[in-house]
Every structure is written in structure tokens, then in C-alpha cells.
Amino acid sequence: MIGVGFLIWCLELARGIIATYGGLGRGLGWHALFGGSTQDVPPPTVVAATMVTIVTTLALIAGAVVLVMSLINLAFPAVEIDPLLAKNLIYFFGHTFINATIYMAVTAVYEILPRVTGRPWKTTKVFLAAWTLSTTMVLTIFPHHLLMDFAMPVWALAIGQVFSFVNSFPVLIVTGLGALAILHRSGIRWDMVSTLLLISVFGWMAGVVPAVVDATVAVNLVMDNTMWVPGHFHFYLLLGLLPMIFAFMIYLARGEDATPRGGDLTAIIYLIFGLGLVTMFLVGGWASVPRRWAEHLPEWQIWDQIASVMAAGVIALTGAFVAMFLARIPALLREG
């Protein structure tokens, strides 16, 4: 049901982009990137939405295929599934889908930071090239989840490693650097929204580092399926994706008014708890603690205990951000 919901959402996005810009290629700005056109160049959010539409639709199709295969196998066990094919489909689905959530959420950065700082985020050729690269890379790097499946073709695993590194380019030197440049000496006063957006940019960029390290085969050999893995993805989800969403929620709750107001202490405490939690994950990975173990050996439990305190803080502050949003809904409804 959730998958069908997302598919309908993607199809609606695709319909809107095609109706407005004339095609998904134009939504990615290819007419400007490759044809040199300056007409109907899509804004950053449309480019991101086009990328997300394409990759999420393909991911959902792969997920649906493996789901149907599993159901058939359940009903007719004689119809066997190749386990390696199933793993490829599952990782193509899961990897692409979760990546797309960040690429969608980053539109909060593209939309809100220019309003906070008064500096525009323009769609340049470098920006378009970066998003075309991201579209290609997100669809092709999923074999980095299969680096310990020695039965995979070696060329696919080489792609998994090298393209994972290349995939960091757009994040680090286009979106990350671009966001920092817009904020740098912009004359703003920090408040909850702008601080959460700065945290989100840092979290996404920093999370890329342990991700690329883990996608290196020589490292993956001794760190795959250890706590390093949740360490890196919590870095860019807990400190990247979620602060983007929280900032957007608070911005909406303020009636889309970007004028700074109030303090940002809650955001900073969230950062401290979040950093504590991901650090404990990464330290666990360094110490070879396996992930997904229901019971941990005594020597691993010190990391768990610290992480539990940090997780409690993250949960409490997440509740606070959600409460701030929900508390404003009645007033927003009254204001229409």
C-alpha cells in the first residue's frame, strides 16, 4: 500500500513536470545543459523533483517485481527465485528509495535558504550537470551493498566502489558548498530554521565520508554489516534528512515567513545528541561490533549504553520539533 501510494505520488509529479516543462529531460534541464537554451530553465526544486520522480519510480518497479516473485514462490515453492537476483532487486529498490528521500528533502534547503538570506539559488549548468550525475549514480551504485557477494560480476562491484566515490561530488561540491556559500557572510541572525538547515548540510556532507569509506572493498571486507553501516546512514539521515524536514515543518508553521525569530538552542542540543548517537555507531563499527544482533557481548555494551542516552535525547527533541509544528496547525487552519 505504501509503495502504491509513493508510485501514485511519483506519477503525479511526473505528470506535473511533463505538463509544465514538456518532458522529464527538460525537467532535468537537459535543454539548457546540452542545448544551451536559456528558455524555461527549471528552478532547483523542479530539477530535484524530476530526479526523485525518475529514480523512485524505477525503484518501486524493482521492489514490486521482487515482491511479486516472492508471493509466487510462497504460493508455488517449485517456482524458485535466484537469491542473488532477489538481492540485487531488493538493494536496487532500498538503496534508491532511501537516497531519493534525501534528494527530495534537500529542496527545503534550495527553497528556504534564499528566502532567509536574500541570496538566490540559481540553476546553473554546473548545478544541472550535478543533478544529472546524481540521477545516473544513484541508479548505478547499489552494488556497493553487494561487495561481500563474491558471486557478483567483478565489474559490477568495481562500479559499486568507484561510482560511490563519484556520487559524492555533487553532494560535496555543488549542493553542500553552494549552501555554505549562500550562508557565508550573509548578515543573517541564526534561528531555529536556519540552524537546522546548516546542521542538515553538514550532516549530509559529513555522512558521505564514512559512506564512501565503507563502499571501498578493502574496508568493506572488515566493516560491512558492523555498526559502521548504521553509523554512516544515521549520519546523513538523522543529521541531514531530518533537520531538513524539521526546518521545513517549522517554516510552514510560521506561515512561510523566513524572518528570523527566537533562538536555536533546541537545534543545537539535537545536533549534540545526534552526533553522540552516530559516533557510538561508528565507534561500534571500528570495534567490529556486528549490526542487527539482539544480544550484545559484554565488551560491546558500553557503546550501547551511551548510544541509548543519545537516542533518548534525539527522540525527545524530535518530539519537540513535531509538537512545535502540530501546535501551530489550528492557527494555520484558522488563518486559511
Binding site: 554546473v126 560535496l172 557572510r185 553538514f202 578493502a218 572488515v222 539482539a294 565488551e299
Partner: protein, 168 residues
């Protein structure tokens, strides 16, 4: 220094560098400057970053792929057949000799498992996936004598965490 330590130290240095940049942006944000010179500076940093990634990072990534476990060839290795079951390991050889290559032929009789080799200090030294219908060949040289453990590294059901075997 272990691969884990090198990875952790390099990651820490890179993350601290990014944190320093973010803190500097935060500290100087109250100053108002024209955007044009800030943008020019950012474009210069972007160009330097791009060429560093392309000319240094990319060849390094390609070069590092040479250190992969897929194509390792060992002369006259000791062979161990390992099969994963819910929730135990079956090894056809109970003892191997340190200092000589061991080829593990790893598979599963039921669901997907992860074959992780741990040394006496509890450090993961090598791994491969254990899959039904496939045999993954992992070649490893145990540097020092001792009792090594095989831990399951892929979630395989309720007692996944108890799936431990020993290789004396």
C-alpha cells in the same frame, strides 16, 4: 594499524574538517558582504575540490579496488567448506594452520547468512556472504595461531546473534 583504525581516523579527520568549515560559516554569518565576491570564492573552492576529487580521489579509488578479495589466488591452500544453517555453522574442518592460506568455500542451506571471521581480540578480519545456491570463495591467511570465531553478520532470524562457531 588495522584497516578499521585507518578508516576511522581518516573519516574523523574529514568530518572534523567539514565541521570546522560549518562552524566558520556560522561564526561569520552575521557579517554582511555582497554575494558576488563570496560566490567567486566558492567557485574557486569548487574548482579546486573538483580537480582534487578527479585527479587524486578517483585514481585512488580505482587503485584501491586492486585490494579486492575476489581474485585472490593461493597456491595449495587449506580448504574449509562452511555451510550456514538457522542458526549454526557447519565446518568440515575443525583446525587450520596459521601462516598458510585457507580457502573457505561458503554457502547456506537455508537463508542468507554472513560469514565473519573474528580474531581472538574480537576484531573482524575478513567476511563473505553465505547464500543458498552459491559458493563464495574467501581466501584468508591467519597471521597468528589462536582460536578464531565465525560470527553471522547477516540477519537470518531470531537466533541470529547466537550463530557462532570456533576455528582453533
Amino acid at each position: 594499524m588495522s584497516v578499521q583504525t585507518v578508516s576511522a581516523v581518516l573519516s574523523l579527520l574529514a568530518i572534523l574538517s567539514l565541521a570546522a568549515v560549518a562552524l566558520r560559516v556560522r561564526a561569520l554569518a552575521h557579517e554582511r558582504r555582497d554575494y558576488a565576491p563570496v560566490q567567486i570564492g566558492a567557485y574557486r573552492i569548487r574548482a579546486i575540490g573538483f580537480w582534487l576529487l578527479v585527479l587524486v580521489g578517483l585514481p585512488t579509488s580505482v587503485w584501491l579496488f586492486r585490494a579486492n578479495p575476489y581474485t585472490v589466488q593461493a597456491a595449495a591452500p587449506q580448504v574449509v567448506n562452511a555451510t550456514g544453517y538457522q542458526w549454526y555453522w557447519e565446518l568440515d574442518t575443525s583446525q587450520v594452520t596459521a601462516g598458510r592460506p585457507v580457502k573457505f568455500r561458503v554457502t547456506s542451506a537455508d537463508v542468507n547468512h554472513g560469514f565473519g571471521l573474528y580474531d581472538e581480540a574480537g576484531t573482524l578480519v575478513a567476511q563473505t556472504q553465505a547464500m543458498p545456491g552459491y559458493i563464495n570463495r574467501l581466501t584468508h591467511v591467519f597471521e597468528a595461531p589462536g582460536t578464531y570465531r565465525v560470527l553471522c553478520l547477516e540477519y537470518c532470524g531470531l537466533v541470529h546473534h547466537n550463530m557462532i562457531a570456533e576455528i582453533p
